[in-house]
């Protein structure tokens, strides 16, 4: 009838749908993405799922824990702390003075093998209170220099162990290399020397890529201050495995480093004589020194903690599964679990509190409500008590 008002004569929304595309270029295009209707999985932690998850975790964790614990128990470890004993008794008042003097620092130690040790047996030295992870220390190295002979002069980060006093670059430069550990150990069983294999104690990639095959130590330990060990200037860095191991800075102030491998089995009761040169100065900072002989398992060294942690978590999960299951016996259906409370903020009244059993309270309420219940109950009991006493009187 009246074409000037097409919009109102279009009829209901149903018919507008059909006329839509004609003029509605602004109409949002339908896609499941823009309508937020992408297919989705909506996992819900129903009691069933909770219990199965906890159980699954405990089922996985407890065996791993047991296996790790066994592996760790298999490892035989001999630890010998020697920094005190290896100072002659008359020098023990001035240990630093002794260690810095040029006296003979040979020291003999005797170790007894408690259990059969299968080869390879790894020899470690362990330092304590030595901050290899100090920022100043960590930065004090030049990887370019270690890698290629051409970068000899890349000694920027190495200060103050970058050059000798006459300006020649030190290779390897920096505090790390300079403070290389220099105690040595020689082993003998029944007066038969035990060979210590010092090859293959470092990472292969370090030997291959990081420490150059044609980089040789230069001017090392020629400075005014003597640090730790010296290096054989004829051996390329890639073969200086002690240095390579040392250059991998430890994460913590207590650390072990691999010294070598003994490639024979040691029987229980074997007595091993160690002849060691106690040269390294840990006495300035009261650091301990230990010699460690240890076998390994698939897990590495003796490490009970992994097993214990696994068992703890596994056990905890088992406990949680049980706890959930128990309460689950009482509360299965969602609607029996209090259903929607939205607008209904339930006020706690004494009479309601009295009507429920504790268990129901735990199930129905939050812990805070439960506490409230306890208080109310306590007061109630007290009152009852007084009442009965009054009656007796």
């Amino acid at each position: 009838m009246n074409s000037s008002t097409p919009s109102s004569s279009a009829g209901g929304p149903g018919s507008a749908e059909s006329t839509g595309p004609r003029r509605n270029s602004k109409r949002p295009k339908y896609s499941r993405f823009t309508q937020q209707e992408l297919p989705a999985c909506k996992p819900i932690l129903t009691p069933k799922w909770v219990i199965s998850t906890f159980l699954l975790v405990s089922v996985v964790f407890i065996p791993i824990g047991v296996v790790s614990l066994f592996a760790s128990r298999d490892v035989v470890e001999i630890v010998d702390r020697y920094e005190n004993e290896c100072i002659p008794i008359n020098s023990r008042n001035d240990k630093v003075g002794f260690i810095q003097s040029s006296q003979d620092k040979t020291c003999n130690r005797t170790l007894t093998v408690p259990k059969h040790m299968k080869r390879p047996i790894y020899v470690y030295y362990q330092l304590d209170n030595f901050y290899q992870n100090h920022r100043r220390y960590v930065k004090s190295r030049s990887d370019q220099q270690l890698r290629s002979p051409g970068s000899e002069r890349d000694t920027d980060p190495c200060s103050p162990e970058d050059t000798t006093s006459d300006g020649k670059p030190i290779v390897p430069c920096g505090l790390i290399a300079w403070s290389l550990f220099n105690d040595t150990y020689d082993f003998a069983r029944n007066n038969q020397p035990l060979g210590v294999n010092k090859r293959g104690i470092s990472w292969k990639s370090d030997r291959d890529r990081k420490f150059g095959k044609n980089v040789f130590p230069k001017n090392f330990q020629n400075g005014t201050l003597k640090g730790g060990a010296s290096l054989d200037p004829l051996k390329p860095l890639s073969e200086q495995e002690d240095l390579i191991v040392w250059m991998r800075t430890a994460a913590l102030p207590t650390f072990r480093k691999l010294y070598g491998k003994i490639e024979v089995d040691l029987r229980a009761g074997d007595v091993i004589n160690v002849t060691l040169q106690n040269r390294y100065n840990t006495y300035s900072f009261n650091g301990k020194k230990k010699l460690v002989l240890s076998t390994t398992s698939w897990l590495g060294g003796k490490n009970d903690f992994v097993g214990i942690a696994y068992l703890t978590v596994g056990g905890l999960c088992f406990f949680l599964a049980m706890a959930t299951w128990r309460s689950h016996l009482f509360v299965m259906e969602p609607e029996s679990r209090g259903s929607l409370k939205l607008a209904y903020e339930s006020a706690v009244h004494v009479d309601i509190a009295q009507a429920l059993t504790p268990l129901e309270w735990i199930q129905a309420c939050s812990p805070s409500l439960f506490l409230k219940y306890l208080c109310i109950n306590l007061v109630h009991r007290l009152l009852e008590h007084f009442e009965t006493r009054d009656m007796h009187l």
């Binding site: 109102s8 949002p28 209707e37 901050y131 290899q132 072990r256 240890s294 897990l299 060294g301 929607l340």
Partner: protein, 1207 residues
């Protein structure tokens, strides 16, 4: 009160519409005398070249709303970015990373910052580009500009200069502020639509100066010149002062000659004009204020958390510095392998405090991972995507107007989920602002068959209540006996109106009665009265006709939609109003047909006409109360019947007006006219009062003709939407400019009011002159009313009792004063619904501010017109109704929707989702950064507080930017606790937002605690496991890089599994991002391990050679992951089992498919899920049920009482 409204309208029309009809007073005949500041603009007409040099060089017509341009973009945008504290901190850190103080390499500090800032800036640039494109669209519009010698040329708008003569054609926008020279009409008038300026849809008349009327063709501009001296650019739309110097004469200019930029030429073929103000000087641009930038509450709270984290950062930095100082002073000299002091003095035992200070800076940078660098940018990305979802929601697309919803700002998305109070405009928002002429009463006889929406809604509702009754298990037989009658009645109402096909075929005309249609009225007994009735309808108005060329039918541009509907009705009855000139109105009457020249003397709600027979009539329409006051003694013939009809109409929610007339004789008229002219031409401030008095004299002794009833149509789905919103626990206030009766009607229509609700009306008493201090007396009276009402609410025992507060604008002016507003607010909060009527735009804003600040809750204002702008800007969230009326409200709003009913989806679905998403996302952000940042701190204790990090710099760089950012974004974009249908079915789920269940301090600290726990677990488990023992069968010992990498793996797993636990909605996208992040970490290790760069940090082949072959690495990862997430898992599963939140229960019901299997339970839950609303359909039904139950109970008790004595 109603009288006041009419006056207000008169004054308004007098200002805009009839400025031309008013003879110029002598005051204005003189040219304005002004000079000096504020009035310095000189325009040389038709000589734009004069304006190329200073001082006459004015700004060009190029407009730009962009924030930046190519040159300023970088500095400005960068400045904006670094105004954020967190970013500034990272900038400082990045600068410091170039010094040796820094614990990290420079690139690892700069790269993430550059990435984050770059991304934010890219977003800014994109938005600005969009604005630029929009501007250019406007700037490149073509205008017809006079070149030389009377030749007009097309020119883009931006090339327009001051002084140009332009020709604007019909339905085109004015390119700048113009002085109207001439138009296609002889008398130089033109019609202008100013919708873009003030939102008013009616047409306004502009009129050229007499002297320039001759300039009406292109030739005549050949040597036209003149000088305009006028005011400087200012934002006032309704004023203009200037002089026009033309042919050595000076003429004064006033606003009626000024055509404003962005308004539209209507009903006029063309006009010529001279450009006065261009570009930013134009009034509309001067008016464009930046809407206040709003920030959501969650973001403000987030800032607080960031400050907390900063405090934590400073705190642990201080601890670490103190540790460092102690170590440096007492231990470092003994650590010979460090060779301290160094050259830079960073480790100088001699000056431990200096070194300590350096270290403090180092520590502040080192622990910077506590501050989530990517938080802001992630939130921005998420919000943009959320806004995209809102814009693309097909359920919020209006088919009729073709407008989708639009999130105009994206930083308020989550605020949508926390709204507490909705303040709504009525006209255009709840109602369509489309009036349908529905019924009328002529000479005491009612006409019109159709039922109004309100009647229909009421009928439907009653039927629904019946339906509900049967479901509620009341004995059917009892119900039957009680209600058979009404039921039958209802059914007839419903069936007769079934199908909802009652859309009127003609816009504005819903009348249906054969007695009047098609000229049948001629046969009715009171045909002469009817003729008068229709004439009043067709003559007594201020509208402008517009001929639709195709159909030959007139449509009308009226100031108010009421008038439009009257004219349409008159047209349909056969009185076609077809032309209006300065002093006459032409109406074509179809049955019988003749043209009728009418001399109009005074155009307002009363019109004096001289009809074809020379008789003079005064025709008048107005509010019933006023008209009835002014009836003559013999004019009250139909008063009784009409009053009854008026009441009926009022109840049915219709707007009513009474029509009356009066015959005048020639002498009386001319006597009066003289006086009227005198009044009109008088000078001074009392002119209005004089006019008023003279008119008042005339509008007396009227004779009643009848009354009209117009339906203010409710928008589609409004009652249902209000019902849902009420169920969601939202409070709804209606602020309207309408009179109280209308507002109450609409309140009933949309269930904001219902029977049985106690209405508290607070009004201003009429003060008599007797009282000394009238204002004080009024205030005391109002205060009294408020206290009484508050007392009443307090004393109310019935929990179901609901109160409605109705207050009018005049009273509001008092109650909004400082000393009373809190009492008022308290009362209002106690009421279920609040309706404020007759409020001014400013009051709307004030009320909004009162609610916002008084309650401290989040308010949402929704409106459609220019009068709602204040309210929209004031509220926490402003929603504009886009589509029909002007763009002002939409421009000021934060969200624009096409219809009120979309508000439900916007809040209940999008708001709910966005709130939860953002809240969870921010919590998780803090969690992951605390979890990561603290491990760095713990390590310090083992590294002599030296500032060494256990991680490789690259890991840390990737942590925030790549490895953990995408899952959290997917959480923020895609998470849904329940899907949209369920949100709508359980509207009270929405309450989780206003109650802030997901972002309260309890939860935030819970998450922070979780982060702390994770950091402890990750760090210490790894440290203990990799402590001193060999970690491989080959006897190797883990070095720092290996420990760091293992630890970092643990963190990546832990935080990514944590987010998987947090989510409840996994599409492939989430899976991809979460598991992809973890996979990416290993991939990165693989690739990084092969790079030569890794040689420098012992990370070469870290995965392939060192870690992967070690079983302990993998077992540690598994252990750490599970141990970190165990408490959270336990927490959520126990919470779900013992203290489930509402969405948990709903999720479970859905999961068990209870909604399908157990309909009964589903319904019960749904019912419980309703918020205890006191308004809305549902509340009405509930109230009814309670009422019936009460009666039933009484019945039973009576029956029992009777039966007891018998036994």
């Amino acid at each position: 009160m109603a009288r006041g409204r009419i006056r207000a309208r008169i004054r308004r029309s007098h200002l805009y519409t009839f400025a031309c009809g008013r003879p110029r007073t002598s005051e204005e005949e003189r040219p304005h005398e002004f000079e000096g500041p504020g009035f310095s603009r000189i325009v040389h007409c038709n000589q734009p070249d004069m304006h190329t040099k200073k001082p006459l060089k004015y700004c060009s017509n190029y407009i730009s709303t962009t924030k930046y341009n190519i040159i300023t973009f970088l500095p400005k945008a960068i400045f904006e970015q670094f105004r954020r504290v967190a970013n500034l901190y990272f900038l400082l850190a990045a600068v410091l990373s170039l010094t040796p103080i820094s614990p990290f390499s420079a690139v690892s500090m700069i790269a993430p910052l550059a990435f984050v800032v770059g991304l934010s800036m890219a977003k800014e640039a994109m938005e600005d580009w969009r604005r630029f494109i929009q501007d250019m669209k406007v700037n490149l519009r073509k205008a017809n500009v006079h070149k030389t010698d009377g030749v007009f040329n097309q020119k883009p708008w931006m090339k327009l200069r001051v002084g140009d003569v332009v020709k604007v054609e019909k339905d085109k926008f004015f390119p700048a502020d113009l002085l109207l020279l001439s138009s296609s009409y002889e008398d130089g008038i033109c019609y202008v639509e100013t919708m873009n300026l003030d939102g008013e849809t009616n047409l306004k008349v502009k009129r050229a100066l007499e002297t320039t009327l001759s300039l009406d063709d292109e030739e005549s501009f050949k040597d036209f010149s003149g000088i305009i001296k006028c005011e400087d650019p200012n934002p006032s739309l309704y004023t203009f002062v200037g002089n026009f110097e033309y042919e050595r004469q000076i003429y004064p200019l006033d606003p009626s000659q000024i055509l404003l930029r962005d308004s539209k030429l209507r009903n006029t073929a063309y006009i010529y004009g001279v450009v006065i103000f261009t570009g930013f000087d134009s009034k509309v641009m001067q008016n464009s204020t930046k809407s206040p930038s709003k920030r959501s509450r969650i973001e403000k709270q987030m800032d607080k958390i960031i400050y907390i984290l900063f405090t934590l950062l400073v705190f642990i930095s201080c601890i670490s510095s103190i540790g460092f100082i102690v170590k440096t002073k007492y231990n470092l000299p003994d650590w010979w392998y460090l060779q301290v002091p160094d050259k830079e003095g960073l480790y100088d035992p001699g000056k431990p405090w200096v070194s300590g200070f350096y270290h403090l800076i180092t520590a502040l940078i080192l622990y910077g991972y506590l501050i989530p660098i990517s938080l802001y940018v992630s939130i921005e990305v998420v919000k943009v995507l959320q806004a995209l979802f809102i814009n693309h929601d097909i359920h919020m697309y209006d088919h009729e107007t073709g407008t989708p919803a639009q999130a105009r700002t994206s930083n308020l998305n989550e605020e949508l989920g926390q709204v507490d109070t909705i303040l709504s405009d009525k006209t255009g928002t709840l109602t369509c602002n489309q009036m349908d002429f529905l019924k009328c009463s002529i000479a005491g006889t009612p006409y019109g068959m159709r039922a109004s929406d309100v009647e229909l809604a009421a009928a439907k509702q009653m039927a629904m209540e019946m339906d509900n009754q049967s479901q509620n298990g009341t004995p059917r037989s009892w119900r039957k006996s009680e209600f058979t009658e009404s039921e039958i009645e209802l059914e007839t109402v419903i069936t007769s109106n079934d199908g909802d096909v009652r859309k009127p075929a003609i816009k504005g005309f819903g009348f249906e009665d054969n007695r009047l249609m098609n000229g049948n009225w001629f046969k009715e007994p009171n045909a002469d009265v009817m003729l008068l009735f229709f004439r009043i309808l067709s003559i007594c108005h201020t509208a402008i006709p517009e001929l639709n060329e195709e159909t030959g039918i007139f449509t009308y541009e009226a100031e108010s939609p009421d008038e439009g509907s009257f004219l349409v009705a008159a047209r349909e009855f056969g009185f076609e109003f077809c032309r209006r000139t300065q002093s006459s109105i032409v109406v074509r009457e179809r049955y019988p047909s003749y043209d009728e020249p009418i001399e109009s003397k005074r155009k307002r709600m009363s019109v004096i006409i001289r009809d074809e027979s020379g008789q003079i009539f005064l025709l008048c329409k107005g509010a019933d109360s006023i008209i009835f006051d002014r009836l003559s003694r013999n004019g009250r013939m139909y008063e009784e019947a009409t009053t009854k009809h008026l009441n009926d109409y009022g109840e049915a929610g219709l707007r009513t007006l009474a029509l009356a007339y009066k015959k005048l004789d020639e002498d009386k008229y001319s006597a009066w006219n003289e006086e009227f002219v005198k009044a009109k031409t008088s000078i001074g401030g009392d002119r209005d009062a004089m006019l008023e008095r003279v008119s008042d004299m005339m509008e007396r002794d009227l004779i009643l003709v009848g009354a009209t009833a117009v339906e203010d149509k409710l928008q589609n789905g409004v009652p249902q939407c209000i019902d849902k919103l009420a169920q969601a626990g939202l409070k709804i206030w209606v602020l309207t400019g309408d009179k109280m009766e209308t507002a109450i009607n609409i309140g009933f229509a949309c269930s904001l009011l219902r029977q049985g609700m106690k209405q508290i009306c607070i009004t201003t008493m009429n003060t008599d002159a007797i009282v000394q201090d009238p204002k004080q007396a009024v205030k005391e009276n109002i205060l009294n009313q408020i206290t009484n009402a508050t007392q009443m609410i307090k004393l109310e025992k019935d929990p179901h009792a609901a109160f409605a507060l109705i207050i009018d604008g005049k009273t509001l002016t008092y109650t909004l004063e400082d000393d009373m507003k809190h009492q008022f607010l308290n009362l209002a909060i106690g009421c279920a619904s609040v309706i404020c009527c007759r409020v001014s735009p400013k009051q709307k804003a004030l009320v909004t501010r009162l609610v916002k600040e008084g309650t401290g809750k989040i308010t949402l204002a929704i409106g459609d017109g220019a009068n709602d702008v204040g309210m929209i800007q004031e509220a926490d969230i402003g929603v504009g109704i886009s589509g029909c009326e002007g763009m002002q409200a939409v421009m000021a709003s934060d969200f624009a929707i096409a219809q009120f009913r979309f508000l439900e989806r916007l809040l209940v679905v999008h708001g709910h989702w966005c709130y939860k998403r953002i809240a969870q996302m921010i919590c998780y952000f803090f969690y992951k950064n605390i979890a990561f940042g603290l491990t760095i701190f713990y390590f310090e204790a083992f590294a002599g507080f030296s500032g060494q990090s256990v991680y490789v710099d690259w890991y840390m760089l990737l942590f925030n930017v790549v490895l953990t950012s995408l899952p959290v974004i997917s959480l923020g974009v895609f998470e849904q606790d329940v899907d949209s249908e369920v949100c709508l079915e359980f509207p009270s789920l929405y309450q989780q937002g206003p109650k802030n269940l997901f972002f309260d301090w309890y939860r935030i600290f819970g998450w922070m605690g979780n982060g702390l726990y994770t950091s402890v677990i990750v760090f210490f488990l790894n440290i203990i496991i990799f402590y001193d023992q060999a970690f491989r069968a080959g006897g190797q010992i883990a070095d720092m890089t290996a420990v760091g990498t293992a630890m970092f793996t643990g963190i990546i797993w832990a935080v990514n599994c944590q987010i998987a636990l947090t989510m409840s909605h996994f599409t492939w996208i989430q899976h991809f991002f979460i598991w992809g992040s973890i996979a990416f970490w290993y991939l990165f290790l693989l690739v990084y391990g092969e790079l030569s760069y890794a040689l420098n940090v012992n990370a070469f082949r870290i995965l392939t050679e060192v870690l992967a072959p070690a079983p302990i690495y993998w077992t540690t990862t598994l252990l750490v992951t599970i141990a970190c997430n165990l408490p959270y898992l336990a927490h959520i599963s126990f919470q779900r089992s013992f203290n489930p939140l509402d969405h948990h229960v709903i999720q479970e019901i859905k999961y068990y498919k209870k909604d399908i299997e157990d309909r009964h339970m589903w319904r019960a839950e749904k019912k419980k899920a309703r918020h205890k609303a006191k308004i809305g359909f549902t509340a009405r039904v509930d109230a009814k049920i309670r009422h019936l139950k009460g009666r039933l109970h009484k019945k039973y008790s009576i029956a029992n009482n009777i039966s007891i004595p018998q036994t």
